[in-house]
Symmetry: C2
Subunit: 370 residues, 2 copies
């Protein structure tokens, strides 16, 4: 029935089919039998959505109207990301797990059927596309009440291997252009299920922000013959004042022109295009800095911070020589009772106004006693 | 002491100085003496902020750390935007007013001293700039509890003349590149003062979204010799299904690739670059459609909708032949108890996912009984 695959650091992946034919992948730090069957009745899969061009800025918008009815803050005893126990039949048929990745039940983007191509972008005359891509859910732990920062180093290593494995596999799909593993945390930013988990979006187009990063890095390369992100990291190492944490393989800093009250970029010292390029040493050294950064973030105000933590990778087919892997963590929390909102200037004009000096937030993060 | 200026539709502007030397401008539909003195003690003005380049996307971020301590949801009896009455000394010295515009007390952008130029954008080696520009507050009414939609048609006409006047005057400043009047409404999106008011941001750089609109319109003109926004409006008129309201001078529609659950664009049928280009007939016909649109928006769920309503204008010095004036209203409210949040895909990747079909939200808006 299932497939098994050996990854680095002794991590083993076992695949199973869910009742509705979606795939679930178990990533374990030691051999486990993962044979439990999904006992739930089969539900119809939602249809694939549309890609519509916003001609005013020449950007694709994915229309996924079926997502309006998705599950919203279920109580713990009905959590669909907990293991299956007794009468509670969840997304994960096993009674326990380490890390699992499964296809999203309400995906914004889906695998296309047959040949697929993105329409040309020519203003309001552009054809509508189908919202091709893949959306996966990645659960970090079976423990409902925990957070990323509560994971063991070993668990973070398994998680990293899962992210790497998904990046490698999704990169092989001909319609995939970009892969973004991210975690949203906190009801303040709309998280609908509080179980520790992330998502993996694999886009069939370059996300607008990635497209802009590619343009900036390409221009910089032409002008200076240097790699933009490497120079950014070099400046942070030289300036010192915005560094939050570091070890011999990774560095974490508040960027010079941070957009959010708390924003941390985490980058490997030896630059790579995407997660698959990380060496064994890089991989082993990620968990300590990732956990330190997340603990510092929650320590600033002594509250669980709402955040978005997203891996920025080079796209699958372009820009692999100018874009670099890094992990961007942004939080809208500017004080215990206050959030930063994106209003007229940020949202309508795209012009960010920052109320917190990056050097100040970096100092606050450094001063947290762990 | 003050200056007086006559605008169209009998609107009169009277200028006064506030105690700390900021300017307040009264816009009235009939002659009023506006001689009241600001009785408050003089407070030091905050220093000008920094412009820092985010090299990864080549965008300016304005650093305004002094804004951290700005006033936060004051109770009605301490509202700084109400008229001055008795012991309550507010931003408006008069005991009543129609529309006023005054310099923001905690501006993100300020007038520069002496010569000023934007640094070149060359990655992490870019110099830091000063956050040049102007931030003004515009109050729509002295009535604290009201909203834009409760204004009279005459008041909206005064408001429109004030926006036009500010655009005209701010355009003359050599360091101003773009002018954006906008209104943020609703605590859900971080509005810190509930009195009906908007803001006018005059930027010394092209806001990133405007820069992107300019690039899209310029490319489209080269490819087709047509004006992008005019073709967008033509498509909406042809498709009919997303039109929300119209009169003989204006049209309001949900855009084909809307990004927000409720999004309405309002455009004059005879295109102009910015507010100053509107004819007398356009100006007279704006209030009815503006009020209708806002009433429809609040009518959909029978709740006051959080929204951002922003005027998109052509920049002051570039792109005036390819960009068009229009008013974009966006709401994150997707259901009575639910908001749309910008999380991993939207915020980190810039890739919008829409849960509501634009044709459906347009129908909901049309079906509201006014």
């Amino acid at each position: 029935m299932g497939q098994s695959k050996k990854l680095l650091a002794g991590v083993i992946r076992n695949d199973r089919q869910m009742a509705d034919a979606r795939t679930i992948r178990y990533y374990d730090s030691s051999p486990h039998e993962r044979a439990a069957q999904d006992q739930r009745p089969v539900e119809a899969q939602p249809p694939i959505g549309e890609l519509r061009l916003d001609p005013l800025v020449n950007e694709w918008v994915a229309m996924a109207a079926h997502r309006q009815s998705r599950i919203f803050l279920p109580p713990k005893e009905l959590c669909p990301l907990c293991p299956t126990t007794g009468d509670l039949l969840t997304e994960i048929p096993e009674s326990d797990y380490e890390v699992v990745v499964f296809d999203n039940r309400s995906p914004s983007l889906r695998a296309p059927i047959g040949d697929w191509a993105l329409p040309d972008q020519v203003g309001p005359d552009t054809d509508t596309g189908t919202a091709a891509g893949k959306c996966e859910v990645i659960c970090f732990t079976a423990e409902h009440g925990n957070s990323f920062k509560d994971l063991s180093e070993q668990r973070v290593r398994v998680l990293l291997e899962a992210w790497i494995d998904r990046t490698e596999e999704l990169s092989k799909e001909s319609y995939i252009q970009h892969i973004a593993p991210f975690e949203n945390r906190g009801e303040e930013i709309g998280v609908t299920i509080s179980h520790p988990h992330g998502q993996i979006y694999a886009y069939s187009y370059l996300p607008p922000r990635v497209e802009k990063m590619l343009a900036a890095a390409t221009t910089y390369k032409k002008q200076t013959n240097k790699i933009l992100f490497d120079e950014v990291v070099a400046r942070e190492i030289k300036d010192k004042v915005r560094i939050v944490a570091q070890n011999d393989r990774w560095i974490a800093f508040v960027p010079f022109a941070a957009r959010y009250p708390f924003e941390i970029h985490v980058a490997p010292r030896n630059p790579v295009a995407d997660l698959t390029g990380l060496t064994e040493q890089d991989r082993a050294a990620y968990a300590p800095i990732a956990l330190e950064v997340m603990k510092r973030l929650d320590g600033v105000f002594g509250v669980e911070m709402a955040y978005i933590a997203a891996w920025h990778q080079a796209p699958v087919r372009v820009g692999r020589d100018v874009l670099r892997l890094h992990w961007q963590i942004t939080s809208v929390r500017r004080a215990p009772g206050k959030l930063k909102y994106l209003a007229g200037s940020e949202s309508a004009m795209g012009a960010f106004i920052m109320d917190v000096q990056p050097e100040q937030s970096a100092a606050q993060l450094r001063e947290v006693i762990l």
